[in-house]
């Protein structure tokens, strides 16, 4: 898989302290002449996030795990972040960059709220926030000092009365689509999301969208499939629903899983060969 989109640590040089390459960062050389000023890789990471447009809004999903290399380090981390009344982020990648970025945006929105009492103007739309993020991430990659994240921005535009869903990552790459997934989710969940979306809306997207309940069940399925196949995932996740009523972030939940089939697999069950 492309190095840029797998947020697991790059395989490090094995040594006596890290025989199985579980640390996210290889040991630094004792002395080096090359300056190493900037983040060149993520450390504590969140895995893929999902998003889908449904009838009346957008839903985002992200699990609660923050990994340290292959170690499931923090198991109660919320990776869905509401911004204002009608926008929400789902963030994959480096968790410290995530915290830095959300702090920056929270401060920006708070400052805007303060000023809005005397200097009246419309609140930030999801598109406004997305453009800000895109510019931030592209500017940082252009300094070769990236913020190591892939982000889904979900929102409801109150002016246009339409939903908003778009992607931006550490390279400043941007795009929008009715279903989105980052990282390994782009390979495993995105096909499932597109299939279900197009089954109702048609390939031109002009038919009816999934209902809220259908969309949530679809995300539940995708999160389960990801938990089965993504070694850096956790069966504990949240779903954000963004609609005209605002942003609602669910409590953490789990999928029912069935591991009986695994008993027959070589390497999992009792057999040795």
């Amino acid at each position: 898989m492309n190095q840029l989109h797998s947020f697991q640590a790059v395989p490090s040089t094995r040594n006596a302290f890290d025989a199985y390459s579980t640390l996210p960062e290889p040991p630094r050389p004792q002395s080096t002449h090359a300056p190493r000023a900037h983040t060149q890789q993520p450390i504590v990471t969140g895995t893929s996030v999902l998003g889908i447009k449904y009838e009346g809004g957008v839903m985002l999903a992200a699990d609660n795990l923050a990994s340290y290399g292959s170690l499931a380090r923090f198991k109660d981390i919320q990776r869905l972040h509401p911004l204002g009344d009608n926008t929400c982020l789902a963030v994959a990648g480096d968790m410290s960059d995530f915290q830095y970025m959300t702090k920056l945006l929270d401060a920006t929105l708070r400052a805007d709220r303060s000023v809005s009492l005397t200097d009246t103007h419309p609140p930030f739309s999801p598109q406004n926030i997305y453009t800000y993020l895109s510019n931030l991430y592209y500017a940082r990659r252009s300094k070769v000092n990236p913020l190591w994240n892939a982000i889904l921005v979900g929102g409801w535009d109150k002016e246009k009365k339409e939903s908003f869903l778009a992607y931006v990552d550490l390279l400043g790459t941007t795009y929008s689509a009715p279903t989105l997934a980052t990282g390994i989710g782009a390979h495993i969940a995105q096909p499932l999301l597109r299939e279900a979306y197009e089954a109702k809306a048609g390939v031109d997207g002009k038919g009816p969208l999934l209902t809220g309940q259908e969309a949530e069940e679809l995300l539940d399925t995708c999160m389960k499939v990801l938990f089965y196949r993504d070694a850096r995932s956790l069966n504990k996740y949240q779903i954000a629903t963004i609609s005209n009523d605002g942003v609602k972030i669910s409590d953490s939940k789990s999928s029912e899983t069935e591991w009986g089939f695994a008993e027959g697999l070589r390497g999992y069950g009792p057999q040795t060969q």
Partner: protein, 257 residues
């Protein structure tokens, strides 16, 4: 007239022989000339109100607000030179941002008032600047509860239960003392924000000088349970009610005279 200042008022960095800073005192005159601003600390929040004098019929309704937000739960009402108030509020937002950046917590109202007062004080100590021409009421609710402070042009700041600055402030303070007096009585309870809004509006109408300034708009904000403990404008219906009741109370008082 010739005795005023006598050369000791040309610079804020020069004391008069009896230890006064005339420039600071003149700044106080700018405050006294401005429409009254009132803050009232209530049992469940804080209320700010100003008498926004309309010096021209051409002004847009509701424009040129004198109360500003500094943080989600902090407001600032100023009396004096409006532009100085706006600048001070800008500085306040910087302090709010700086505190949160450093401590990842909202700034306590008292610390904000302290930092702003240091800023104001700095403008009384250099010959190249003039002091702020505003007295500012800083109202906030933090984990210590509802707080109200007033920062004066000299840079001093005091905490208050209720306070008024600007034109008619002396009379307004007497009225506030009566309102607050109930709280200090044995078994007395402070006003709620809802009652506070009515009280502040009443006092503003009372001290408004109809002969000098014809028109004014009542501008009120609060930090109350009804605004989710955020600094927000008082809802239009409550403001209209307070305005009407304030006006009615004034007319009632006139009939008694």
């Amino acid at each position: 007239m010739s005795s005023i200042g006598t050369g000791y008022d040309l610079s804020v960095s020069t004391y008069s022989p009896d230890g006064r800073l005339f420039q600071v005192e003149y700044a106080g005159k700018a405050v006294e000339a401005a429409g009254v601003a009132i803050g009232l600390r209530c049992s469940d929040g804080v209320v700010l109100g100003v008498e926004r004098i309309l010096h021209s019929k051409l002004l847009v309704k509701g424009a040129n607000r004198r109360i500003q937000s500094l943080d989600d739960s902090i407001g600032l009402a100023s009396a004096g030179l409006l532009a100085d108030g706006v600048h001070l509020a800008d500085r306040g937002r910087d302090e709010v941002w700086n505190f949160r950046e450093t401590y990842n917590a909202p700034i306590p109202t008292q610390i904000l008032a302290d930092r702003l007062s240091m800023y104001v004080q700095a403008y009384t100590a250099y010959s190249s600047v003039r002091p702020f021409g505003v007295s500012s009421l800083v109202a906030g609710v933090d984990k210590t509860g509802p707080r109200l402070f007033c920062i004066e042009p000299s840079g001093v700041f005091y905490g208050y239960r209720g306070y008024a600055v600007g034109k008619g402030a002396v009379l307004a303070r007497t009225e506030l003392e009566k309102a607050v007096g109930k709280e200090t009585e044995e078994g007395g309870v402070a006003l709620t924000c809802r009652e506070g809004v009515l009280e502040v509006a009443r006092i503003i109408h009372l001290v408004h000088d109809d002969n000098k300034d014809k028109e004014f708009e009542l501008e009120m904000t609060w930090i109350s349970p009804e605004s989710n403990m955020k600094h927000a404008v008082v809802p239009a219906d409550l403001l209209a009610e307070a305005d009407a009741k304030g006006k009615a109370a004034l007319e009632e008082g006139m009939e008694e005279d």
